[in-house]
Protein backbone atom coordinates (compact mmCIF):
# COMPACT_ATOMS: atom_id res chain seq x y z
CA UNK A 1 0.00 0.00 0.00
CA UNK A 2 0.97 3.55 0.00
CA UNK A 3 3.24 4.90 2.65
CA UNK A 4 2.15 8.48 2.69
CA UNK A 5 3.63 10.67 5.31
CA UNK A 6 1.22 11.08 8.12
CA UNK A 7 -0.02 14.60 8.55
CA UNK A 8 1.74 16.13 11.51
CA UNK A 9 -1.46 17.64 12.87
CA UNK A 10 -2.48 16.69 16.36
CA UNK A 11 -4.34 18.32 19.17
CA UNK A 12 -2.72 19.53 22.31
CA UNK A 13 -5.84 19.37 24.43
CA UNK A 14 -8.19 16.43 24.63
CA UNK A 15 -11.58 17.13 23.13
CA UNK A 16 -14.39 16.96 25.71
CA UNK A 17 -16.69 13.91 25.76
CA UNK A 18 -19.03 13.22 22.88
CA UNK A 19 -22.18 14.28 24.69
CA UNK A 20 -20.65 17.52 25.94
CA UNK A 21 -19.49 18.39 22.45
CA UNK A 22 -22.93 17.62 21.06
CA UNK A 23 -24.52 19.87 23.65
CA UNK A 24 -22.87 22.84 22.00
CA UNK A 25 -25.15 22.37 18.99
CA UNK A 26 -28.49 24.10 19.02
CA UNK A 27 -30.34 21.01 17.78
CA UNK A 28 -29.02 18.88 20.62
CA UNK A 29 -30.08 21.52 23.11
CA UNK A 30 -33.61 21.59 21.70
CA UNK A 31 -33.63 17.80 21.67
CA UNK A 32 -32.60 17.60 25.32
CA UNK A 33 -35.30 20.10 26.34
CA UNK A 34 -38.00 18.23 24.39
CA UNK A 35 -37.00 14.78 25.61
CA UNK A 36 -36.67 15.90 29.22
CA UNK A 37 -40.08 17.51 29.05
CA UNK A 38 -41.81 14.48 27.58
CA UNK A 39 -39.97 12.00 29.79
CA UNK A 40 -41.05 14.04 32.80
CA UNK A 41 -44.67 14.02 31.60
CA UNK A 42 -44.53 10.28 31.03
CA UNK A 43 -42.96 9.47 34.40
CA UNK A 44 -44.60 12.08 36.68
CA UNK A 45 -47.95 12.18 34.83
CA UNK A 46 -49.61 9.26 36.64
CA UNK A 47 -49.01 10.95 39.99
CA UNK A 48 -50.62 14.26 39.09
CA UNK A 49 -53.51 12.98 36.99
CA UNK A 50 -56.85 14.26 38.38
CA UNK A 51 -58.74 11.02 37.59
CA UNK A 52 -57.90 7.35 37.35
CA UNK A 53 -56.64 5.93 34.08
CA UNK A 54 -59.88 4.04 33.36
CA UNK A 55 -62.29 6.02 35.54
CA UNK A 56 -65.68 6.89 34.02
CA UNK A 57 -66.19 10.64 34.39
CA UNK A 58 -69.01 11.85 32.18
CA UNK A 59 -70.78 11.46 28.84
CA UNK A 60 -68.35 10.28 26.12
CA UNK A 61 -66.75 12.74 23.71
CA UNK A 62 -67.79 15.86 25.55
CA UNK A 63 -65.52 18.87 25.55
CA UNK A 64 -67.15 20.91 28.27
CA UNK A 65 -67.16 18.74 31.38
CA UNK A 66 -66.94 20.47 34.76
CA UNK A 67 -63.93 19.34 36.76
CA UNK A 68 -61.99 18.34 33.65
CA UNK A 69 -59.71 20.53 31.66
CA UNK A 70 -60.10 18.96 28.24
CA UNK A 71 -63.31 16.95 28.44
CA UNK A 72 -63.99 13.23 28.07
CA UNK A 73 -62.98 10.66 25.50
CA UNK A 74 -64.88 8.01 23.53
CA UNK A 75 -65.48 6.02 26.70
CA UNK A 76 -66.33 8.91 29.02
CA UNK A 77 -62.86 8.97 30.61
CA UNK A 78 -60.95 12.17 31.39
CA UNK A 79 -58.76 12.96 28.37
CA UNK A 80 -56.07 14.74 30.39
CA UNK A 81 -55.76 11.88 32.87
CA UNK A 82 -55.58 9.28 30.13
CA UNK A 83 -52.88 11.38 28.52
CA UNK A 84 -50.88 11.73 31.74
CA UNK A 85 -51.01 7.96 32.29
CA UNK A 86 -50.35 7.04 28.68
CA UNK A 87 -46.59 7.58 28.25
CA UNK A 88 -45.12 5.62 31.11
CA UNK A 89 -45.50 2.09 29.74
CA UNK A 90 -44.26 3.06 26.30
CA UNK A 91 -41.16 4.69 27.72
CA UNK A 92 -40.29 1.93 30.17
CA UNK A 93 -40.85 -0.86 27.65
CA UNK A 94 -38.82 1.01 25.02
CA UNK A 95 -35.88 1.56 27.38
CA UNK A 96 -35.76 -2.08 28.46
CA UNK A 97 -36.18 -3.39 24.90
CA UNK A 98 -33.47 -1.07 23.60
CA UNK A 99 -31.08 -2.15 26.36
CA UNK A 100 -31.60 -5.79 25.42
CA UNK A 101 -31.07 -5.00 21.74
CA UNK A 102 -27.94 -2.95 22.46
CA UNK A 103 -26.37 -5.60 24.68
CA UNK A 104 -27.03 -8.46 22.29
CA UNK A 105 -26.36 -6.46 19.14
CA UNK A 106 -23.08 -5.02 20.41
CA UNK A 107 -21.81 -8.39 21.58
CA UNK A 108 -22.70 -10.11 18.31
CA UNK A 109 -21.42 -7.24 16.15
CA UNK A 110 -18.08 -7.04 17.99
CA UNK A 111 -17.64 -10.80 17.95
CA UNK A 112 -18.35 -11.03 14.24
CA UNK A 113 -15.97 -8.17 13.47
CA UNK A 114 -13.17 -9.55 15.60
CA UNK A 115 -13.37 -13.20 14.62
CA UNK A 116 -14.09 -12.55 10.93
CA UNK A 117 -14.12 -15.53 8.61
CA UNK A 118 -16.60 -18.31 9.17
CA UNK A 119 -17.96 -17.09 12.49
CA UNK A 120 -18.61 -13.67 11.03
CA UNK A 121 -20.43 -15.27 8.13
CA UNK A 122 -22.60 -17.44 10.36
CA UNK A 123 -23.50 -14.64 12.76
CA UNK A 124 -24.35 -12.16 10.04
CA UNK A 125 -26.35 -14.67 7.97
CA UNK A 126 -28.39 -15.62 11.02
CA UNK A 127 -29.04 -11.97 11.79
CA UNK A 128 -29.98 -11.42 8.16
CA UNK A 129 -32.82 -13.88 8.57
CA UNK A 130 -34.18 -11.92 11.53
CA UNK A 131 -33.59 -8.72 9.59
CA UNK A 132 -35.85 -9.90 6.77
CA UNK A 133 -38.81 -9.44 9.09
CA UNK A 134 -39.80 -5.81 9.41
CA UNK A 135 -39.93 -5.05 13.12
CA UNK A 136 -43.72 -4.63 13.25
CA UNK A 137 -44.22 -7.92 11.44
CA UNK A 138 -42.01 -9.87 13.84
CA UNK A 139 -43.88 -8.46 16.83
CA UNK A 140 -47.25 -9.12 15.26
CA UNK A 141 -46.47 -12.74 14.38
CA UNK A 142 -45.33 -13.47 17.92
CA UNK A 143 -48.22 -11.57 19.48
CA UNK A 144 -50.69 -13.42 17.29
CA UNK A 145 -49.75 -16.66 18.97
CA UNK A 146 -49.07 -15.66 22.54
CA UNK A 147 -51.18 -12.54 23.03
CA UNK A 148 -49.78 -9.12 23.81
CA UNK A 149 -47.89 -9.22 27.12
CA UNK A 150 -45.30 -6.68 28.20
CA UNK A 151 -42.56 -9.30 28.41
CA UNK A 152 -43.33 -10.46 24.89
CA UNK A 153 -43.34 -6.93 23.53
CA UNK A 154 -39.99 -6.23 25.17
CA UNK A 155 -38.52 -9.44 23.80
CA UNK A 156 -39.74 -9.05 20.24
CA UNK A 157 -38.79 -5.38 20.03
CA UNK A 158 -35.40 -6.09 21.62
CA UNK A 159 -34.70 -9.07 19.37
CA UNK A 160 -35.81 -7.34 16.19
CA UNK A 161 -33.53 -4.41 17.10
CA UNK A 162 -30.52 -6.68 17.66
CA UNK A 163 -29.48 -7.38 14.05
CA UNK A 164 -29.78 -3.70 13.14
CA UNK A 165 -27.44 -2.70 15.97
CA UNK A 166 -25.13 -5.62 15.29
CA UNK A 167 -24.69 -4.50 11.68
CA UNK A 168 -23.73 -0.96 12.64
CA UNK A 169 -21.40 -2.02 15.43
CA UNK A 170 -19.75 -4.64 13.22
CA UNK A 171 -19.28 -1.99 10.54
CA UNK A 172 -17.42 0.42 12.78
CA UNK A 173 -15.59 -2.34 14.67
CA UNK A 174 -14.11 -3.79 11.48
CA UNK A 175 -12.14 -0.58 10.96
CA UNK A 176 -10.87 -0.78 14.54
CA UNK A 177 -10.00 -4.47 14.42
CA UNK A 178 -7.66 -3.92 11.47
CA UNK A 179 -5.60 -1.36 13.32
CA UNK A 180 -2.25 -2.27 14.78
CA UNK A 181 -3.09 -1.74 18.42
CA UNK A 182 -5.30 -4.81 18.21
CA UNK A 183 -2.36 -6.84 16.88
CA UNK A 184 -0.25 -5.28 19.61
CA UNK A 185 -2.71 -6.46 22.24
CA UNK A 186 -2.70 -9.96 20.76
CA UNK A 187 1.08 -9.99 20.69
CA UNK A 188 1.30 -9.32 24.42
CA UNK A 189 -1.15 -12.16 25.05
CA UNK A 190 -4.42 -10.40 25.90
CA UNK A 191 -7.35 -12.84 25.97
CA UNK A 192 -9.90 -12.68 23.15
CA UNK A 193 -12.57 -11.43 25.51
CA UNK A 194 -10.37 -8.62 26.74
CA UNK A 195 -9.38 -7.63 23.22
CA UNK A 196 -13.03 -7.39 22.22
CA UNK A 197 -14.32 -5.59 25.28
CA UNK A 198 -11.44 -3.41 26.39
CA UNK A 199 -9.62 -2.72 23.12
CA UNK A 200 -12.32 -2.72 20.44
CA UNK A 201 -15.42 -1.66 22.38
CA UNK A 202 -14.03 1.64 23.77
CA UNK A 203 -13.25 2.66 20.19
CA UNK A 204 -16.78 2.21 18.89
CA UNK A 205 -18.52 4.05 21.71
CA UNK A 206 -19.49 7.03 19.60
CA UNK A 207 -21.16 4.82 17.00
CA UNK A 208 -22.77 2.93 19.85
CA UNK A 209 -24.09 6.09 21.49
CA UNK A 210 -25.60 7.32 18.22
CA UNK A 211 -27.14 3.92 17.52
CA UNK A 212 -28.50 3.59 21.05
CA UNK A 213 -30.31 6.87 20.67
CA UNK A 214 -31.65 6.02 17.24
CA UNK A 215 -32.90 2.64 18.40
CA UNK A 216 -34.58 4.15 21.44
CA UNK A 217 -36.40 6.58 19.16
CA UNK A 218 -37.56 3.75 16.91
CA UNK A 219 -38.49 1.48 19.83
CA UNK A 220 -40.74 4.20 21.28
CA UNK A 221 -42.38 4.48 17.84
CA UNK A 222 -42.70 0.72 17.44
CA UNK A 223 -44.23 0.08 20.86
CA UNK A 224 -46.65 2.96 20.35
CA UNK A 225 -47.47 1.56 16.89
CA UNK A 226 -48.32 -1.84 18.36
CA UNK A 227 -50.63 -0.10 20.80
CA UNK A 228 -52.09 1.87 17.91
CA UNK A 229 -52.89 -1.44 16.18
CA UNK A 230 -54.70 -2.40 19.36
CA UNK A 231 -52.10 -4.72 20.88
CA UNK A 232 -51.72 -3.72 24.50
CA UNK A 233 -51.72 -6.17 27.43
CA UNK A 234 -54.99 -4.75 28.76
CA UNK A 235 -57.64 -3.84 26.20
CA UNK A 236 -58.40 -0.45 27.74
CA UNK A 237 -54.91 0.52 28.87
CA UNK A 238 -53.99 4.20 28.99
CA UNK A 239 -51.43 4.36 26.21
CA UNK A 240 -50.73 7.16 23.76
CA UNK A 241 -50.76 4.86 20.77
CA UNK A 242 -54.03 3.21 21.72
CA UNK A 243 -55.55 6.62 22.63
CA UNK A 244 -55.04 7.86 19.08
CA UNK A 245 -56.72 4.77 17.69
CA UNK A 246 -59.66 5.00 20.12
CA UNK A 247 -60.41 8.66 19.61
CA UNK A 248 -59.69 8.90 15.90
CA UNK A 249 -63.30 8.44 14.89
CA UNK A 250 -64.42 11.39 17.02
CA UNK A 251 -61.59 13.63 15.89
CA UNK A 252 -63.92 16.52 15.03
CA UNK A 253 -65.94 16.46 18.27
CA UNK A 254 -63.08 15.79 20.70
CA UNK A 255 -59.77 16.70 19.04
CA UNK A 256 -57.72 16.63 22.29
CA UNK A 257 -58.01 12.88 22.58
CA UNK A 258 -55.97 12.58 19.37
CA UNK A 259 -53.95 15.75 19.33
CA UNK A 260 -52.42 15.42 22.80
CA UNK A 261 -50.97 11.94 22.40
CA UNK A 262 -49.96 12.66 18.81
CA UNK A 263 -48.03 15.75 19.86
CA UNK A 264 -46.51 13.91 22.79
CA UNK A 265 -45.25 11.06 20.66
CA UNK A 266 -44.09 13.42 17.93
CA UNK A 267 -42.16 15.64 20.33
CA UNK A 268 -40.65 12.73 22.23
CA UNK A 269 -39.34 11.04 19.11
CA UNK A 270 -38.22 14.32 17.58
CA UNK A 271 -36.46 15.17 20.84
CA UNK A 272 -34.47 11.94 20.99
CA UNK A 273 -33.95 12.15 17.24
CA UNK A 274 -32.39 15.59 17.57
CA UNK A 275 -30.05 14.39 20.31
CA UNK A 276 -29.03 11.48 18.12
CA UNK A 277 -28.32 13.77 15.22
CA UNK A 278 -26.21 16.08 17.37
CA UNK A 279 -24.25 13.09 18.62
CA UNK A 280 -23.67 11.71 15.15
CA UNK A 281 -22.57 15.12 13.91
CA UNK A 282 -19.84 15.49 16.49
CA UNK A 283 -18.89 11.83 16.43
CA UNK A 284 -18.20 12.03 12.70
CA UNK A 285 -15.22 14.21 13.62
CA UNK A 286 -14.12 11.99 16.46
CA UNK A 287 -14.38 8.70 14.66
CA UNK A 288 -12.28 9.93 11.82
CA UNK A 289 -9.80 10.94 14.48
CA UNK A 290 -6.57 12.66 13.49
CA UNK A 291 -5.95 13.20 9.80
CA UNK A 292 -3.44 10.40 9.79
CA UNK A 293 -5.81 7.65 10.79
Amino acid sequence: MNTTLVEANFVDERPPGLFRQALKLRRTQVGVVLSTLLITVALIGPFIAPFGSTEYVDMPNTLDVPGTLLGTDYFGQDVLSRFLFGGRTILILAVIATSIGITLGTTLGLTAAYLRGRYDEIIMRALDVVLSFPQVLLSLVVISMFGPSNVLIICTVGLSTTPRIARIIRGSAIGVVERDFISAAEAIGETRKRVVFSEVLPNVTSALLVEMNLRLTYSVGLIASLAFLGFTPEPNAANWGLMIQENRVALTEQPWGVILPTMALALMTIGTGLIGDGLSRVSAGIDRGGKGE
Partner: protein, 321 residues
Protein backbone atom coordinates in the same frame (compact mmCIF):
# COMPACT_ATOMS: atom_id res chain seq x y z
CA UNK B 1 -16.07 -11.93 -17.18
CA UNK B 2 -19.68 -12.24 -18.34
CA UNK B 3 -19.97 -15.83 -17.13
CA UNK B 4 -18.48 -14.94 -13.77
CA UNK B 5 -21.19 -12.34 -13.26
CA UNK B 6 -23.82 -14.88 -14.22
CA UNK B 7 -22.30 -17.30 -11.75
CA UNK B 8 -22.42 -14.67 -9.04
CA UNK B 9 -26.07 -13.94 -9.78
CA UNK B 10 -27.02 -17.60 -9.64
CA UNK B 11 -25.10 -18.03 -6.40
CA UNK B 12 -26.74 -14.98 -4.93
CA UNK B 13 -30.21 -16.22 -5.93
CA UNK B 14 -29.51 -19.59 -4.34
CA UNK B 15 -28.50 -17.78 -1.18
CA UNK B 16 -31.77 -15.84 -1.31
CA UNK B 17 -33.74 -19.06 -1.66
CA UNK B 18 -31.82 -20.49 1.30
CA UNK B 19 -32.69 -17.43 3.37
CA UNK B 20 -36.33 -17.71 2.39
CA UNK B 21 -36.30 -21.34 3.41
CA UNK B 22 -34.90 -20.48 6.84
CA UNK B 23 -37.40 -17.63 7.10
CA UNK B 24 -40.21 -20.09 6.43
CA UNK B 25 -38.85 -22.41 9.12
CA UNK B 26 -38.77 -19.52 11.55
CA UNK B 27 -42.34 -18.47 10.76
CA UNK B 28 -43.49 -22.01 11.15
CA UNK B 29 -41.60 -22.41 14.40
CA UNK B 30 -43.11 -19.30 15.96
CA UNK B 31 -46.65 -19.93 14.81
CA UNK B 32 -47.05 -23.67 14.92
CA UNK B 33 -44.20 -25.38 16.66
CA UNK B 34 -43.58 -23.37 19.80
CA UNK B 35 -45.43 -24.51 22.90
CA UNK B 36 -48.27 -22.24 22.02
CA UNK B 37 -51.33 -24.22 21.03
CA UNK B 38 -52.77 -22.79 17.82
CA UNK B 39 -56.05 -24.49 18.54
CA UNK B 40 -56.25 -22.87 21.93
CA UNK B 41 -55.15 -19.59 20.42
CA UNK B 42 -58.04 -19.78 18.00
CA UNK B 43 -60.79 -21.04 20.29
CA UNK B 44 -59.68 -19.29 23.47
CA UNK B 45 -58.84 -20.67 26.91
CA UNK B 46 -62.36 -21.73 27.79
CA UNK B 47 -62.68 -24.17 24.89
CA UNK B 48 -63.55 -27.75 25.81
CA UNK B 49 -60.93 -30.44 25.19
CA UNK B 50 -63.27 -32.05 22.68
CA UNK B 51 -63.62 -28.87 20.64
CA UNK B 52 -59.83 -28.39 20.68
CA UNK B 53 -59.24 -31.95 19.53
CA UNK B 54 -61.77 -31.57 16.75
CA UNK B 55 -60.15 -28.39 15.54
CA UNK B 56 -56.67 -29.92 15.65
CA UNK B 57 -57.90 -32.84 13.59
CA UNK B 58 -59.60 -30.56 11.10
CA UNK B 59 -56.47 -28.50 10.43
CA UNK B 60 -54.02 -31.35 10.79
CA UNK B 61 -52.47 -29.84 13.93
CA UNK B 62 -52.38 -33.26 15.58
CA UNK B 63 -49.88 -34.63 13.07
CA UNK B 64 -46.12 -34.65 13.76
CA UNK B 65 -44.47 -31.23 13.35
CA UNK B 66 -42.30 -32.30 10.45
CA UNK B 67 -45.23 -33.47 8.40
CA UNK B 68 -47.16 -30.30 9.35
CA UNK B 69 -44.25 -28.24 8.05
CA UNK B 70 -43.73 -30.15 4.83
CA UNK B 71 -47.45 -30.03 4.21
CA UNK B 72 -47.45 -26.26 4.70
CA UNK B 73 -44.33 -25.67 2.63
CA UNK B 74 -45.70 -27.89 -0.13
CA UNK B 75 -48.83 -25.79 -0.08
CA UNK B 76 -46.84 -22.58 -0.33
CA UNK B 77 -44.93 -23.89 -3.33
CA UNK B 78 -47.96 -25.27 -5.17
CA UNK B 79 -50.12 -22.28 -4.32
CA UNK B 80 -52.54 -24.34 -2.24
CA UNK B 81 -52.51 -22.33 0.96
CA UNK B 82 -55.44 -23.88 2.71
CA UNK B 83 -58.48 -22.19 4.07
CA UNK B 84 -58.58 -19.08 6.18
CA UNK B 85 -59.82 -19.96 9.69
CA UNK B 86 -61.66 -16.70 10.04
CA UNK B 87 -63.28 -16.14 6.66
CA UNK B 88 -63.52 -19.76 5.60
CA UNK B 89 -62.41 -18.78 2.09
CA UNK B 90 -59.27 -20.17 0.40
CA UNK B 91 -56.29 -18.16 1.58
CA UNK B 92 -55.05 -17.46 -1.94
CA UNK B 93 -58.43 -16.11 -2.96
CA UNK B 94 -58.60 -13.96 0.17
CA UNK B 95 -55.07 -12.59 -0.13
CA UNK B 96 -54.41 -12.12 -3.86
CA UNK B 97 -56.39 -8.88 -4.41
CA UNK B 98 -54.93 -7.46 -1.22
CA UNK B 99 -51.39 -8.28 -2.26
CA UNK B 100 -51.79 -6.49 -5.57
CA UNK B 101 -53.38 -3.45 -3.88
CA UNK B 102 -50.49 -3.23 -1.42
CA UNK B 103 -47.87 -3.71 -4.10
CA UNK B 104 -49.42 -0.87 -6.04
CA UNK B 105 -49.18 1.34 -2.97
CA UNK B 106 -45.58 0.30 -2.34
CA UNK B 107 -44.65 0.80 -5.96
CA UNK B 108 -45.90 4.39 -6.09
CA UNK B 109 -44.20 5.16 -2.79
CA UNK B 110 -40.92 3.64 -3.99
CA UNK B 111 -41.04 5.26 -7.42
CA UNK B 112 -41.70 8.60 -5.74
CA UNK B 113 -39.19 8.37 -2.93
CA UNK B 114 -36.12 7.10 -4.77
CA UNK B 115 -35.70 9.97 -7.28
CA UNK B 116 -36.83 12.47 -4.65
CA UNK B 117 -34.20 11.20 -2.22
CA UNK B 118 -31.47 11.29 -4.84
CA UNK B 119 -32.29 14.86 -5.81
CA UNK B 120 -32.51 16.07 -2.21
CA UNK B 121 -29.39 14.18 -1.14
CA UNK B 122 -27.28 15.26 -4.09
CA UNK B 123 -28.29 18.89 -3.79
CA UNK B 124 -27.62 18.96 -0.06
CA UNK B 125 -24.20 17.42 -0.63
CA UNK B 126 -23.31 19.82 -3.43
CA UNK B 127 -23.99 22.87 -1.29
CA UNK B 128 -22.82 21.35 1.93
CA UNK B 129 -23.68 23.34 5.05
CA UNK B 130 -25.65 25.75 2.89
CA UNK B 131 -29.23 26.79 3.51
CA UNK B 132 -30.79 23.92 1.60
CA UNK B 133 -28.55 21.40 3.33
CA UNK B 134 -29.27 22.56 6.87
CA UNK B 135 -32.99 22.98 6.37
CA UNK B 136 -33.46 19.70 4.51
CA UNK B 137 -31.41 17.86 7.10
CA UNK B 138 -33.48 19.29 9.95
CA UNK B 139 -36.79 18.55 8.25
CA UNK B 140 -35.79 15.03 7.28
CA UNK B 141 -34.53 14.44 10.80
CA UNK B 142 -37.87 15.45 12.30
CA UNK B 143 -39.89 13.43 9.81
CA UNK B 144 -37.70 10.36 10.16
CA UNK B 145 -38.01 10.31 13.93
CA UNK B 146 -41.80 10.14 14.12
CA UNK B 147 -43.61 6.79 13.82
CA UNK B 148 -45.76 6.44 10.69
CA UNK B 149 -49.07 6.52 12.46
CA UNK B 150 -48.15 9.79 14.15
CA UNK B 151 -47.20 11.29 10.79
CA UNK B 152 -50.40 9.91 9.32
CA UNK B 153 -52.53 11.28 12.15
CA UNK B 154 -50.95 14.71 11.77
CA UNK B 155 -51.65 14.57 8.01
CA UNK B 156 -55.23 13.60 8.71
CA UNK B 157 -55.62 16.51 11.11
CA UNK B 158 -54.15 18.88 8.54
CA UNK B 159 -55.73 17.65 5.29
CA UNK B 160 -58.93 15.83 6.20
CA UNK B 161 -60.45 17.15 9.37
CA UNK B 162 -59.50 20.01 11.59
CA UNK B 163 -57.65 22.41 9.27
CA UNK B 164 -58.59 21.64 5.67
CA UNK B 165 -61.01 19.02 4.42
CA UNK B 166 -59.43 18.42 1.05
CA UNK B 167 -58.53 14.75 1.21
CA UNK B 168 -60.47 11.77 2.53
CA UNK B 169 -59.27 10.46 5.89
CA UNK B 170 -59.84 6.88 4.78
CA UNK B 171 -59.59 5.02 1.50
CA UNK B 172 -62.88 3.84 0.08
CA UNK B 173 -61.70 0.92 -1.93
CA UNK B 174 -63.59 -2.29 -2.57
CA UNK B 175 -61.45 -5.40 -2.15
CA UNK B 176 -60.48 -6.49 -5.62
CA UNK B 177 -61.17 -3.13 -7.27
CA UNK B 178 -58.13 -1.57 -8.98
CA UNK B 179 -56.34 0.69 -6.44
CA UNK B 180 -56.30 3.63 -8.85
CA UNK B 181 -60.09 3.78 -8.77
CA UNK B 182 -59.79 5.94 -5.64
CA UNK B 183 -56.95 8.32 -6.49
CA UNK B 184 -57.86 10.83 -3.80
CA UNK B 185 -58.02 8.09 -1.23
CA UNK B 186 -54.49 6.99 -2.20
CA UNK B 187 -53.04 10.43 -1.56
CA UNK B 188 -52.60 10.27 2.19
CA UNK B 189 -51.33 6.67 2.40
CA UNK B 190 -48.78 7.35 -0.31
CA UNK B 191 -47.74 10.63 1.29
CA UNK B 192 -47.29 8.96 4.65
CA UNK B 193 -45.11 6.23 3.17
CA UNK B 194 -43.09 8.81 1.26
CA UNK B 195 -42.47 10.73 4.46
CA UNK B 196 -41.48 7.51 6.21
CA UNK B 197 -38.78 6.60 3.72
CA UNK B 198 -37.53 9.66 1.84
CA UNK B 199 -35.73 11.33 4.77
CA UNK B 200 -33.70 8.27 5.50
CA UNK B 201 -32.68 7.51 1.94
CA UNK B 202 -31.89 11.15 1.19
CA UNK B 203 -29.64 11.36 4.25
CA UNK B 204 -27.74 8.31 3.13
CA UNK B 205 -27.55 9.66 -0.41
CA UNK B 206 -26.18 12.93 0.96
CA UNK B 207 -23.56 11.14 3.03
CA UNK B 208 -22.48 9.01 0.06
CA UNK B 209 -22.29 12.08 -2.18
CA UNK B 210 -20.33 14.10 0.38
CA UNK B 211 -17.78 11.33 0.63
CA UNK B 212 -17.47 11.04 -3.12
CA UNK B 213 -17.27 14.81 -3.64
CA UNK B 214 -14.41 14.97 -1.12
CA UNK B 215 -12.54 12.20 -2.91
CA UNK B 216 -9.24 12.65 -4.69
CA UNK B 217 -10.70 11.70 -8.07
CA UNK B 218 -13.34 14.41 -7.90
CA UNK B 219 -10.71 16.97 -6.97
CA UNK B 220 -8.61 15.65 -9.83
CA UNK B 221 -11.55 16.00 -12.24
CA UNK B 222 -11.90 19.65 -11.23
CA UNK B 223 -8.17 20.18 -11.61
CA UNK B 224 -8.43 18.74 -15.10
CA UNK B 225 -10.86 21.53 -15.94
CA UNK B 226 -14.05 19.50 -16.03
CA UNK B 227 -17.20 21.56 -15.63
CA UNK B 228 -19.31 21.06 -12.54
CA UNK B 229 -22.05 19.18 -14.35
CA UNK B 230 -19.60 16.58 -15.70
CA UNK B 231 -17.97 16.35 -12.29
CA UNK B 232 -21.34 15.65 -10.68
CA UNK B 233 -22.90 13.28 -13.18
CA UNK B 234 -19.92 11.48 -14.67
CA UNK B 235 -17.43 11.46 -11.83
CA UNK B 236 -19.42 11.60 -8.61
CA UNK B 237 -22.81 9.99 -9.17
CA UNK B 238 -21.72 6.55 -10.44
CA UNK B 239 -19.59 6.13 -7.34
CA UNK B 240 -22.34 7.23 -4.96
CA UNK B 241 -25.18 5.05 -6.21
CA UNK B 242 -23.48 1.76 -5.29
CA UNK B 243 -23.69 2.28 -1.54
CA UNK B 244 -27.10 3.94 -1.96
CA UNK B 245 -28.53 0.77 -3.54
CA UNK B 246 -28.12 -1.14 -0.31
CA UNK B 247 -29.93 1.50 1.69
CA UNK B 248 -32.73 1.82 -0.83
CA UNK B 249 -33.26 -1.93 -0.63
CA UNK B 250 -33.31 -1.86 3.13
CA UNK B 251 -35.88 0.90 3.06
CA UNK B 252 -38.13 -0.75 0.52
CA UNK B 253 -38.27 -3.66 2.90
CA UNK B 254 -38.98 -1.22 5.67
CA UNK B 255 -41.85 0.14 3.60
CA UNK B 256 -43.28 -3.37 3.55
CA UNK B 257 -43.46 -3.16 7.34
CA UNK B 258 -44.68 0.41 7.41
CA UNK B 259 -47.49 -0.53 5.09
CA UNK B 260 -49.07 -2.59 7.88
CA UNK B 261 -49.53 0.52 10.03
CA UNK B 262 -50.41 2.87 7.20
CA UNK B 263 -53.07 0.60 5.74
CA UNK B 264 -54.62 0.20 9.13
CA UNK B 265 -54.62 3.97 9.60
CA UNK B 266 -56.41 4.65 6.32
CA UNK B 267 -58.48 1.47 6.14
CA UNK B 268 -56.69 0.58 2.93
CA UNK B 269 -57.65 -2.96 1.93
CA UNK B 270 -54.21 -4.49 1.51
CA UNK B 271 -51.94 -7.04 3.16
CA UNK B 272 -51.34 -4.77 6.15
CA UNK B 273 -54.99 -4.53 7.10
CA UNK B 274 -55.39 -8.22 6.39
CA UNK B 275 -52.47 -9.04 8.69
CA UNK B 276 -53.77 -6.89 11.53
CA UNK B 277 -57.18 -8.55 11.20
CA UNK B 278 -55.66 -12.00 10.97
CA UNK B 279 -53.58 -11.40 14.10
CA UNK B 280 -56.69 -10.31 15.96
CA UNK B 281 -58.70 -13.36 14.84
CA UNK B 282 -55.66 -15.68 15.07
CA UNK B 283 -56.13 -16.74 11.48
CA UNK B 284 -53.05 -18.96 11.31
CA UNK B 285 -52.80 -19.74 7.56
CA UNK B 286 -53.22 -16.08 6.63
CA UNK B 287 -50.63 -14.90 9.16
CA UNK B 288 -48.09 -17.46 7.98
CA UNK B 289 -48.52 -16.63 4.34
CA UNK B 290 -48.48 -12.86 4.79
CA UNK B 291 -45.39 -13.06 6.99
CA UNK B 292 -43.68 -15.06 4.27
CA UNK B 293 -44.65 -12.55 1.59
CA UNK B 294 -43.46 -9.51 3.56
CA UNK B 295 -40.19 -11.20 4.51
CA UNK B 296 -39.84 -12.24 0.88
CA UNK B 297 -39.96 -8.59 -0.18
CA UNK B 298 -36.87 -7.96 1.93
CA UNK B 299 -35.00 -10.97 0.62
CA UNK B 300 -35.75 -10.06 -3.00
CA UNK B 301 -34.95 -6.33 -2.78
CA UNK B 302 -31.75 -7.17 -0.98
CA UNK B 303 -30.84 -9.62 -3.69
CA UNK B 304 -31.50 -7.05 -6.40
CA UNK B 305 -29.44 -4.46 -4.52
CA UNK B 306 -26.47 -6.80 -4.19
CA UNK B 307 -26.56 -7.64 -7.87
CA UNK B 308 -27.04 -3.97 -8.78
CA UNK B 309 -24.09 -2.88 -6.67
CA UNK B 310 -21.83 -5.40 -8.35
CA UNK B 311 -23.00 -4.35 -11.79
CA UNK B 312 -22.23 -0.65 -11.23
CA UNK B 313 -18.89 -1.19 -9.47
CA UNK B 314 -16.09 -2.18 -11.87
CA UNK B 315 -13.81 -3.23 -9.03
CA UNK B 316 -16.37 -5.73 -7.75
CA UNK B 317 -17.01 -7.01 -11.24
CA UNK B 318 -13.33 -7.78 -11.66
CA UNK B 319 -13.05 -9.44 -8.29
CA UNK B 320 -15.59 -12.00 -9.43
CA UNK B 321 -13.50 -13.23 -12.30
Amino acid sequence: MKTSILKFIVKRILLGVMTLFIVSLLIFAVTQALPSDPAEAILGREATPEALAALRAEYGLDKPLVSQYTHWLGGVITGDLGTSYATMTPVSEYISPRVSASFFLLLIAALGSIPLSIVIGANAALRRDGKFDTSSSLISLILAAMPEFVVGTILTVIFSTTIWQVLPAVTYLEVGAPPWSDIKGLALPVLTLLIAVTPYVSRVMRAAMVEVLESDYVEMARLKGMNERTVLWRHAMPNAVGPAFQVIALNLAYLAGGVIIVERLYNFPGIGSALADAVRSRDLPVIQYLALIIAGVYVITNLLADIGTVLVTPRLRTRLS
